[in-house]
């Protein structure tokens, strides 16, 4: 086809529209961006989402509280325990029940392992997008160990559903705790290894420093959260500022960035992995004894061996399995700090065992307009770096 036939000579505008996605390797899911380009510079980026819409919020309105938990796993599928925790904490706030210390510490261990796992996947894919293949393979190796730990404690590698309303699924065995300890001892040298490959690597610096920078005010105004917000200099972490699940008993630092660019977000997440490791180490050292579920059998299942001897336990078991937990009327929201930022469920209860309305506050969803703002004026190659640095998970964007 000749140039005149394509209509290239009659073009009115001097810019080009470039489509990326919906199925593009760097978008880590199905996500489409339509970019208006002037040469190699992005003038504006228009995102399109919804390809992975599963209707989880609508489905939740027709399921009992206990049945919603496995669905929350599928939202942010890289760190399911955070979603479980956010859902359970909100339900427990409506129920007004106190969780035993052992369950809280086990929850913290699972959540921090998930944060490390999620950051490992982020580092792997982010580095691969920019062109560092080795880091990808290294990170995947360590993440596999976390998945093995998940499998041993909950029976499932990814979608653990380990955290339940009123406690956790089952108690951790001493063998499992020993394996977690081994992993905790093993990890620091590996994080140093990733840093050795990237932190002072001139190619990495060129590709990330000064790219996608956002000031403190912009980051707040565009509702970024988690590492992306802290990289811009906002010292806010829900674990520190509004401790839940006994996070106030642990010593850890919240890293804060300065420039708010892709490089700062990288440094911050790597440091967060170290801090999460510290928390798991302390949790293993000070793991309290006692039950790992609330005693109230109207909320958590009675012990299996009592079913054969106690009539009351049998009734409770039957009521819980057939009807579920009746949650008092009310509505509330409990934010937790997920690997991508503020995660929380707004639950409206009408007093039955089925939630009336469930709404997820998804950090990835809220970050997408801000992310596209960062792309304005950047090169097309930087778009990939910016998407990677925000670490979006399409499961929770489209819900």
């Amino acid at each position: 086809m000749s140039v005149t036939e394509q209509g290239l000579l009659e073009r009115e505008k001097d810019t080009m529209t470039l489509n990326m996605g919906p199925s593009h390797p760097s978008t880590h899911g199905v996500f489409r961006i339509i970019m208006e380009m002037d040469g190699e510079v992005v003038l504006s980026a228009q995102p399109e989402i919804g390809f992975l819409h599963t209707g989880i919020e609508k489905t939740s309105e027709n399921k009992r509280y206990v049945h919603v938990i496995p669905m929350t796993d599928r939202l942010d599928y890289l760190a399911p325990p955070m979603n479980n925790l956010a859902f359970c904490l909100t339900t427990e706030k409506l129920l007004g029940c106190e969780i035993p210390d052992r369950a809280q510490t086990l929850r913290v261990i699972m959540c921090e392992l998930a944060r490390i796992g999620s950051h490992l996947v982020w580092l792997a894919t982010h580095a691969l997008d920019i062109g560092a293949m080795t880091v990808f393979l290294y990170c995947w190796r360590e993440r596999e160990m976390i998945l093995d730990l998940n499998e041993e404690i909950s029976g499932v590698r990814m979608m653990t559903s380990y955290i339940r309303v009123g406690g956790v699924m089952k108690d951790a065995t001493p063998e499992w705790l020993e394996k977690v300890q081994k992993f905790v001892n093993y990890l620091p040298a590996k994080i140093d290894e990733y840093e050795l490959l990237l932190t002072n690597n001139p190619i990495w610096l060129d590709r990330t420093q000064g790219v996608g920078a956002m000031t403190r005010e912009e980051a707040i105004n565009w509702s970024l959260s988690g590492p992306a917000l802290r990289a811009s200099g906002v010292d806010f972490d829900f674990r520190k500022k509004r401790p839940y699940s006994g996070y106030d008993n642990f010593e850890f630092d919240v890293p804060v960035g300065k420039n708010g660019d892709v490089y700062d977000r990288y440094l911050l997440r790597v440091e967060e992995m170290r801090q999460s490791r510290r928390i798991v180490e302390q949790a293993l050292k000070n793991l309290p004894g006692g039950p790992c579920n609330v005693e109230d059998n109207k909320i958590s299942l009675p012990k299996r061996d009592t079913l054969h001897t106690s009539m009351e336990a049998l009734i409770h078991h039957f009521k819980l399995v057939s009807e579920g937990v009746n949650v008092p009327k009310g509505e509330t929201y409990v934010p937790v700090e997920g690997p991508r930022g503020e995660v929380g469920f707004y639950i409206v209860s009408d007093g039955t065992s089925v939630p009336y309305r469930v709404k997820l506050r998804a950090p990835s969803f809220m970050a997408i307009p801000g992310m596209c703002k960062m792309m304005d004026g950047s090169f097309v190659a930087d778009v990939v770096a910016i998407i990677g640095s925000i670490d979006i998970v399409m499961g929770e964007v489209d819900r």
Binding site: G50, I220, S223, F236, K241, G330, Y333, K359, R361, M366
Partner: protein, 176 residues
């Protein structure tokens, strides 16, 4: 500030514009009419003692089954990083033409959740620069998160069955 202090402060500042202020399960909750939302939101953001600089989320709720007046609600969750407190702003919306003014001029983060309100609940958001469907396809009919939208029945887009009549499988709107 604690939730009680936040409510007290808001009542002393814009007491005439809010319908009710209360603490519910320890959270500060303010009820606002849609006309007063922008004024209240501006005050919440700009006051030095409150400083709600961060919009966490906007949700829609449809209270159809609870026989509550008004039927719809838009709920805004605001945080202040400086003072580490939060407030929830609940805006009741009428069943006929639910409409809530945009707050995206104050918080840019409101752009997407407001589009979601339009998409999932059919709320009109006057003042929004780009109000169109966000999660559902553009040609979708209905607003999926409304309580009278059926959960499982879906209209068939096309069929190889020549005798297929779309009226037969179309969902009937449930009666209130």
């Amino acid at each position: 500030m604690t939730s009680e202090e936040v409510i007290e402060k808001i009542q002393s500042m814009v007491g005439d514009d809010i319908q009710k202020g209360e603490t519910h399960l320890g959270d500060a909750v303010v009820f606002v009419a849609p006309d007063a939302l922008q004024k209240v939101a501006k005050a919440l953001k700009e006051d030095a003692d409150l400083r709600f600089e961060y919009l966490s989320d906007i949700r829609g709720v449809d209270y159809l089954d609870q026989d509550r007046e008004p039927r719809f609600e838009a709920v805004y969750e605001l945080h202040s990083f400086e003072h580490n407190h939060s407030v929830r702003v609940r805006v009741g919306l009428e069943e006929e033409n639910p409409s809530v003014p945009t707050v995206s001029d104050l918080w840019k983060g409101a752009l997407y959740p407001e589009r979601e309100l339009f998409d999932m609940f059919g709320f009109d958001v006057p003042g929004h620069p780009d109000l169109r469907r966000i999660i559902m396809p553009d040609e979708w009919e209905g607003n999926p998160l409304r309580r009278d939208y059926p959960l499982t029945i879906e209209d068939v887009a096309f069929s190889h069955n020549r005798e297929y009549k779309s009226e037969l499988v179309k969902p009937k709107p449930p009666t209130r």
